[in-house]
């Protein structure tokens, strides 16, 4: 009797393990294993041909070389700004989709946000380059309209990088926002209005607190995507982009300095983790709650 019960429990666990196996295998072999390898790489130094010793030299280089520092900080600040701008732009769109548009108009708006993702990021960004370069369509148009005397180079500017980043991230902000705004009961807004609140005060005291988990989730996703983006900043910003992922790429591919690249990778991971934690702390959210509610 007892044996049978134990047997059954064991069967249950076995089934669970079997179901989780693909996910665990994926997590283990493609995420944890390479990272463990990278971690080992980042903590060693080449002392001679095929001779390595454990050291903190890679991290030390980062802190002593102002260029790396500068790029690192710049990437962080630009990513925070891009995330914030995406939020500002996505919020009204999400509001329209969730609250104002009825039926077909709502899905149409959603599709408009989705369309950019039908084209690959590379093709899309190259398209932008055609549009924005000095001999491109937009500068020519500006001259024609009399806004500028000579065609101006619109590429390789921070603002252009920013626009590209926001554009690529928009959908990832709109989706969690729509789902959290849709769950906001309209009668709460009406009740606040009835009790004397104006638009801004309703936004501050009712809408934002309700949508906070969605806002946080969207911001985390967009921030991580932006921080780790390589293509958009490099193509639109060229040499001026100074994006940290580009530094990592250079270390691995151009300089063949895997140890340095691995250390940079971990610094980026640390940066995104730290900033996400700060964001959560500032907004009073808990990571588990945020992920559960969206």
């Amino acid at each position: 009797m007892l044996n049978a019960a134990a047997d059954k429990r064991w069967h249950g666990r076995f089934a669970l393990a079997l179901l989780l196996a693909p996910a665990l295998l994926w997590l283990g072999s493609l995420i944890i294993l390479p990272h463990a390898d990278l971690a080992v790489l980042s903590f060693r130094e080449r002392v001679g041909p095929r001779q390595y010793s454990a050291s903190l030299a890679q991290y030390k280089t980062f802190f002593t070389e102002p260029l790396y520092w500068h790029v690192f900080l710049r990437t962080a600040v630009m990513s925070v700004i891009a995330t914030f701008m995406t939020l500002l732009l996505a919020f009204p769109i999400a509001w329209i989709i969730a609250k104002l548009a009825r039926g077909r108009a709502g899905s149409l708006l959603f599709i408009i946000c989705l369309i950019p993702f039908w084209v690959s990021e590379t093709v899309r960004t190259l398209g932008w380059m055609i549009l924005l370069r000095e001999s491109g369509v937009l500068p020519a148009l500006l001259v024609k309209l009399g806004l500028t005397d000579v065609p101006v180079e619109l590429l390789y500017r921070d603002a252009t990088i920013m626009v590209g980043l926001v554009y690529t991230s928009l959908l990832f902000m709109v989706v969690p926002l729509v789902s959290s705004l849709e769950s906001l009961d309209n009668s709460l807004i009406e009740a606040a209005y009835d009790l004397g609140a104006g638009g801004l005060s309703i936004l501050r005291s009712i809408v934002i607190p309700h949508a906070a988990p969605g806002i946080t989730a969207g911001c985390i996703v967009v921030f991580m995507l932006t921080l780790g983006n390589y293509l958009t900043p490099t193509l639109l910003g060229g040499k001026n982009s100074q994006w940290f992922t580009e530094q990592i790429y250079t270390q691995f591919i151009t300089r063949f300095n895997w140890e340095q690249g691995a250390a940079f990778g971990f610094l980026l991971l640390g940066l995104s983790t730290a900033l996400v934690m700060v964001g959560l702390r500032l907004s009073g959210q808990r990571f588990g709650d945020v992920m559960r509610r969206t």
Binding site: D185, A192, D194, G196, A197, I206
Partner: protein
């Protein structure tokens, strides 16, 4: 005579080609409890939302406290609303909910706290200020919703079926509590409901609404004892409805014969000519039941029937009869004396009712021939 707190003047609201509120005019006296009673879909919520300012009337005017409310936004009107689903703010504590309106008026925090606590005290929720909304029971939430509005001292408090979501027992309890709250605060209440018992118990005046219009406006007693339309007679309180044709008159009393030949008498309401299709309404408590026809009042027409079922419900017990010849259903309230407590189905009984206490209307278009 002070000005009425609410005056509606020929208010109309259309949705596409459907008229939700059809040229309504009425006024509500200061400090009174006014109910709008009607079946669901008759336009009650639409009317209330126009008073609150969420939707604008297509034509007509609404004045609150003597001032026209045209182009006045909801947050600037001296009215507050208790929503059907209460709409308490889940992101705030009970105290913050109650203080919300005060904060929007820019009242300093200390004063806000004092007032909201005093208000919670008055609705017997003292000490609940720091609780979360979802920690409260249904009845307590109800009181928070009312307190949140009353703390702003509105001219008018609007309530949209606030008891609809509560279970029966709590509803009965909250009914009494609402009435006491209104008396204690003296605020004018405009209450909408589809439950006639709520309207009768709570109100000073009731407007019975159907298809966007008021069928009758009066005190609960008026509606119950002197219904002016067949709709009111059928909707307010229980009633036996008998459809037939006018076959004779005796002063104000009309003789009515049903299609299958049952003859009853009732008081005529409005002008009815011989041969017109009519509807007769007889309240269950107006009819008198007897085992022996000889004990019935001799001046009333006697009828006989067979017991179909006994509906025991304590003080509201009734018996469902079938009229002897036509097998039409007829409901009679059982007296409290217990004299019919041994009544059995299939038993033959006699009954009568005072024709002056039964009422007869010209039949509504499309209503003839069906029994309710």
């Amino acid at each position: 005579m002070s000005t009425p707190d609410l005056v509606a003047d020929s208010v109309v609201k259309r949705f596409a080609d459907h008229v939700a509120v059809d040229s309504l005019s009425f006024s509500v006296k200061r400090g009174s409890f006014f109910s709008i009673l009607g079946p669901s879909g008759c336009g009650k919520t639409t009317l209330l939302r126009m008073i609150a300012g969420f939707i604008a009337p297509d034509s007509g005017d609404i004045a609150i406290g003597g001032k026209s409310m045209r182009d006045v936004a909801p947050n600037r009107r001296p009215v507050n609303m208790v929503f059907q689903q209460l709409a308490l703010f889940p992101m705030m504590s009970v105290g913050e909910n109650v203080a919300f309106g005060l904060a929007r008026r820019g009242m300093p925090k200390a004063e806000r706290l004092k007032r909201s606590n005093a208000m919670l005290e008055r609705v017997s929720l003292g000490g609940a200020a720091d609780k979360r909304v979802d920690e409260l029971s249904g009845g307590q939430r109800q009181r928070v919703a009312i307190a949140r509005s009353l703390v702003l001292e509105p001219t008018l408090l609007l309530l949209d079926e606030p008891l609809g979501a509560l279970d029966l027992k709590l509803r009965e309890h909250m009914k009494i509590e609402l009435k006491q709250l209104q008396a204690a605060f003296g605020t004018t209440f405009v209450y909408i409901t589809h439950d006639q018992s709520e309207a009768l118990v709570l109100s000073d005046h009731v407007g019975v609404m159907s298809h966007g219009r008021f069928e009758q406006l009066g005190t609960p007693q008026d509606l119950y004892y002197r219904p002016q339309t067949p709709f009111v007679a059928g909707f307010v309180g229980a009633n036996n409805r008998i459809v037939g044709r006018a076959t004779g008159t005796d002063g104000a009393i009309l003789e009515v014969t049903t299609a299958d030949g049952w003859v009853v008498r009732a008081l005529k309401s409005g002008s009815i000519a011989a041969g017109d299709a009519v509807e007769v309404f007889v309240r269950p408590e107006v009819a008198i039941l007897a085992r022996n026809a000889a004990t019935l009042p001799p001046d009333q027409p006697h009828h006989s029937g067979q017991v179909q079922s006994v509906l025991f419900d304590g003080a509201n017990s009734a018996v469902l009869l079938q009229e002897e010849r036509t097998r039409r259903e007829f409901r009679i309230a059982l007296p409290q004396t217990g004299q019919f407590s041994d009544l059995k189905p299939q038993e033959k009984v006699a009954f009568s009712f005072d024709p002056a206490r039964a009422v007869c209307f010209a039949a509504r278009a499309g209503a003839a021939g069906t029994d309710a």
